[in-house]
Amino acid sequence: MCASNTGQAAVLRSALRKIGYAALVVLVVTFGVSLMLSLAPGSVAETILGENATPENVALLNKELGYDRPFIVQYLDWLSHAVRGDLGVSPITHLPVTEAILQRLPVTLELAVLALVLSLVIAVPLAIVSAARAGSALDRGISAATSVFLSVPAFVAGPVLIYFFAVQLRVFPALGWVPIEDGLGANLAAAFLPALAAALVEIAAFHRVLRADLIGTLREDFVAAARAKGLSPSYVMFRHAFRPSSFSLLTISALSLARLIGGTIIVETLFVLPGIGQLIANAVLQRDVVTVQGVVAFIAVTFVVVNMIVDVSYGLIDPRLRRAPAARKIARGRSRTVKPVQKKELTA
């Protein structure tokens, strides 16, 4: 059809708007966090100098580190470096924050992706079974079981998993990290329990959202029409019902992924994993403002980038959303019914 200039301009305009919006989000988040850190009592100087430091010495060191300047000056100074990828040097570890993040990123990234994959692998089949037998005892049982996972926090699930799999069954190591260079098998074994602990919480949400959307889709006429062709329920489920039902799942799994990349503090602390979560946890305890600021900026960027990727992938799921930027709003706002998007129609 007419993939005209106006169409391309619209795509470009919407892309620019999205990038602008994303930049704004990152700006607001980093500004807010910096402000909160500057208002919080105590300072990194106190951590460095120890409990017996005189107020004069603390003030002197703060001045040296530049913390006596007005907040806005400090923030703009930080920002001007941050946009060039320089997140500053931690006054405590004397390590550049960017380097610290990159060092820990592989651990957290692997953990996050593994946790997401695990939760999807468990939640999607459960949701399909639930939706296909909505209201049955099986469906209610699955919903109840996943709710249990939801209500058990990671700091409870973690020790239970460690006890069961590491101590009793001895199939996985209890603590610590094995880098991928030391062998994929050992690496995955070390990552499995923490990933599972992080995944359990996600399963309930994934199950619930996909189940609800599938049930909605299964009521649609096109599912009845597909059944009326004599196609089996499972074929109809996978070929016709699953894809249009996966918008919300895609959205929330992306958010989960972003959150996991931001660091699953509890899980990393519990399993003693050298990831981003541990980095920020230590930094907060030591009032290492520079590191906290840097990690927060990284997390904010991760969120907006993942969100943009999700935005683009709606079109992969639903052909109606390709080449129609405005239509994506429908996808995002859509709950269960599939609304046809009026585009240029082929008329006869």
Partner: protein
Amino acid sequence: MSEGLLLEVENLHAYIGSPRGVVKAVDGVSFTLGRGEALGIVGESGSGKSVMARAVMGLMPPRSGRTGTLRFDGRDLLGLGRKQLEQIWGTQIAMVFQDPGRSLSPVVRVERQLTEGMRRHLGVSKSEASSRALRLLNEVGVPDPERRLRAYPHELSGGMRQRVMIAVALACEPELLIADEPTTALDVTIQRQVLDLLRRIQRERRMSLMLISHDLHVVAGQTDRVAVMYAGRMAETGASRTVFDHPRHRYSNALLAATPSIEHVRHASLNVIPGALPSPTDPPEGCRFAARCTAATVECTTTQPPMAPIGIDHEVACFHPVHEKEGELVGR
């Protein structure tokens, strides 16, 4: 005569469980449909036409039940399991739904929607299925069919979508096509074309057609016989011409008076008959139309009038049917 019958429905009940109680959507319906015959089912919105169609198909919603007799080609449909029904769907009975915007999969190309049934039932190769799909699109009057095969439903106009839907239903050469308000969602100008197409195909293929509509005018011109349905029951059945020209049930009469013709009225508007459909969960005793009927007597509110012959191939369920002359006075 029994060899001539394709579908025999006797005292069919189709109930659906709902939060408000059991919906008695179809509550004792009997009719027959001959081979190669076109039967119209008419009734205002909510009278149970769609549920009846789905009950015949066996495509009932969850928490629902059917009783009665349903014989298709001499086989008892109610006794069939899921696998056996899947063998029948598409190849013996096929269905076209009301809104083609909702009855085609939004994320699947037209080609696959046309071919997947053939691939399953007829065991044809992929390329054979594709060339059949092309011929089908030609048959239902879709221009430029090669391009339409690759299109997604949203890239087609409403009329084109319904033509595609009809092609999908015809793919495995069913003996009975159930079309549930196939034109209600379409523009008035397209409605006639789609109806003519259905009629043409029904004749060419010597297929049986069950054409459902809220508009007696639509159905009368396109079918051999009609059945007028009200609140889950049959009010009147007969040759289309007879029922259209001389409706004997007061509901049929009111239906004709309420919807002047297809060109003027798109949706069923029964403002002319005061009152509304009775509660589908707690229907009244006696004639279900009694509360809205000008000729109702005490007997009508206590006893259900049985379906009784009133002419040649003409039955009506009414204690006080319209006189033939009276019908002409009230007519259009």
